[in-house]
């Protein structure tokens, strides 16, 4: 099988596969728990020792909620649209992207600006600055930050670059990309703009 050429630039990274992805997901979860539990423990201890410290305990609980939420926000940002190029270029690029995908994906792209692509590792939602992989089962999301370094490209071409690379070598694509977040899909969804959410929902449906 062909290997994505860009993997040569990240030669030190082990090639991603389903097992490695699972391990990375669990590591993320463990890290999140490690960030959260001390705040929750502190809150419980404070209230246990002195009920009047409840407001301080509430602040600790807010911290426990906010930290994973900030990570999820970083993850959701990979699907955030970039500023648009001129209208003619946008139209041309969207036309090419439409030619590359099937009818269902084209319909989702028209509504959300994101492309859904099935892969061996799960179902991908491809945006302009990265992609979200919804793992089999539909509950966990991996947010990958990866893009083409050309600020002048219109949106459709940005997505087409990632889509073609993904189709060339899915594992290589996940190897080249930087993992921005892994965790519950609902956390990512919450941080997405409402217009983008149907694409993630559709990916989850396909991955379930």
């Amino acid at each position: 099988m062909a290997v994505l050429t860009e993997t040569e630039r990240v030669y030190w990274r082990p090639r991603v596969d389903a097992r490695r992805l699972t391990v990375r997901g669990r590591t993320w979860t463990t890290t999140t728990v490690a960030h959260t539990v001390p705040f929750l423990g502190t809150a419980a201890l404070l209230v246990g020792l002195e009920p009047l410290a409840a407001p301080v305990a509430a602040v600790a609980i807010v911290h426990a909620w906010v930290i994973p939420d900030l990570y999820a926000r970083r993850g959701a940002n990979v699907l955030k649209p970039k500023p648009r190029a001129d209208e003619a270029a946008e139209r041309t690029s969207i036309g090419l992207l439409g030619d590359l995908v099937g009818h269902a994906a084209r319909s989702t792209a028209a509504r959300t600006g994101l492309v859904i692509e099935r892969g061996a590792l799960g179902v991908w939602v491809v945006g302009e600055a990265g992609a979200v992989l919804v793992a089999p089962g539909g509950r966990r999301a991996f947010c990958f930050c990866v893009s083409v370094r050309d600020p002048q490209l219109p949106s459709g071409d940005r997505i087409a670059h990632l889509l073609l690379a993904l189709r060339e070598d899915e594992a290589g694509f996940a190897t080249v990309a930087n993992l921005a977040f892994s965790g519950a899909r609902w956390r990512v969804r919450r941080r997405l703009a409402p217009a983008l959410r149907p694409a993630l929902d559709e990916a989850a449906r396909l991955a379930a």
Binding site: A85, L96, G119, S147, R149, H161, L164, E168
Partner: protein
Amino acid sequence: MARLIRMDHTGHTTLAEWTAGDADAVEAAVAAFRAQLDAGYYAVVSTGEGRAEQVRELPPDADLVILRRPIAGG
């Protein structure tokens, strides 16, 4: 008619068009193809639904050859 296109700031630009039987057009397409690879582009052809392949020589029988830039983790 087969096409060699480059994704760029215009959306895409058609660099060459050819038919397999037209030797001159193929030759011109090959020259354009090599120039773009030398400029750092990667050439990709679709090989079926959801699959694509990078090519380092122009496949004369392909319908569409797309030139893309390298991607990188952000």
